[in-house]
């Protein structure tokens, strides 16, 4: 995952990304980015300040291609077409929690 600074037109950070990454979204309230990966994770990144970013974790999910962030509730929505190989049509809703 590359962070590209629009003011300087430079890539300022490169972080590991799981396979099959597709849609990436940013939550400005939590200053976090989420990337949907078809390998079965939502990759979570944290902005510590505008010049410093870090990968938090690969959160395991089913195979996902896209996601959306509700910037008011900070909830994440990701549609799934299969669950452990069984066909489904379902929108999964996630919310941030404290990590211990």
């Amino acid at each position: 995952m590359t962070v590209f600074a629009l003011d300087s037109h430079r890539a300022i950070s490169h972080l590991p990304l799981a396979q099959g990454a597709d849609v990436i979204k940013f939550d400005p309230g939590l200053v976090r980015a989420y990337a949907a990966c078809s390998s079965g994770v939502i990759a979570i990144y944290q902005e510590d300040d505008p010049d410093h970013f870090r990968k938090v974790k690969d959160f395991p999910v089913q195979k996902v291609h896209s996601l959306a962030v509700d910037t008011g509730s900070h909830r994440i929505y990701a549609p799934e077409q299969e669950e452990n190989g069984t066909p489904i049509a379902r929108m999964i809703v996630y919310e941030p929690i404290q990590s211990r």
Binding site: Y77, Q81, M91, V93
Partner: protein, 236 residues
């Protein structure tokens, strides 16, 4: 402890308590709901977008060509809109209660009215309409036609394509920079070009070992398709 020191410590604790929940403590996710969608199971979904005014989540179900309207306050599907074949990208225009859909299956951009919850217009466009973005000051939606090597510029007042920008490469997902008032488009090299370049630039070592990952093609391609490959002034 002096009053001054107590004030400094107190301020530090207050600042930490305000900042910590957002940047340090909230570091994982948990599933809180699962919304069953009425379309056929096992078929591919694509982009999502939000309509913050109505508290809607809009979800493109590419396989069956359906657009779901979900109320995020109740987590209920309030409407399934048909007639958007091969829907990939979708973009909401705030204040107009309209959604612009990229209908790959019919090579058209659909205009969906959220009052009537139906498709009210279809705009023929170049091949594989895909990701899209809205630039509010210009009242225009920019739709990447990936296989048509183009970006269609849609005037949201007229619901017409007012300009088509052509490129010598496939057009990826566009983004709008509200500060610089520019649209950025990833121009990506078609796979057939990648294969040709890989063949031409494969090192003798990799050819012997059969390890394609050590060819010199990838640095070349990465330099070619960076995010700043193209920046066009929005509305032009």
């Amino acid at each position: 402890m002096s009053r001054r020191l107590r004030f400094i410590v107190g301020a530090a604790v207050l600042l930490a308590s305000l900042r910590l929940p957002f940047c340090l403590q909230a570091q994982s996710l948990r599933e809180v709901a699962a919304i069953d969608l009425p379309g056929p199971k096992g078929q591919r979904f694509d982009y999502l977008t939000r309509d913050d005014e109505d508290h809607y989540l809009l979800s493109a179900h590419l396989g069956p060509g359906l657009l779901y309207v979900i109320d995020v306050q109740t987590n209920k599907v309030i409407k399934t809109i048909p007639g958007v074949p091969g829907i990939t990208g979708l973009e909401c225009v705030p204040g107009m209660r309209k959604i612009y859909t990229s209908n790959w299956g019919e090579e058209k951009i659909g205009v969906v009215n959220l009052h009537s919850m139906s498709v009210i217009k279809r705009l023929p466009t170049a091949a594989k309409a895909n990701g899209s973005v809205y630039a509010p000051p210009f009242r225009k939606v920019y739709v990447a036609d990936t296989l048509g090597n183009a970006v269609a510029v849609v005037d949201v007042e007229k619901d017409e394509i007012v300009k088509t920008l052509k490129f010598n490469s496939e057009a990826g997902m566009p983004q709008y920079d509200s500060v610089a008032r520019r649209i950025y488009v990833n121009l990506r090299v078609p796979m057939r070009w990648l294969k040709s370049i890989q063949r031409l630039t494969r090192s003798p070592e990799s050819t012997r070992s059969g390890d394609a990952s050590t060819t010199t093609a990838w640095p070349l391609i990465r330099n070619t398709i960076g995010p700043s490959s193209f920046a066009a002034g929005a509305g032009r």
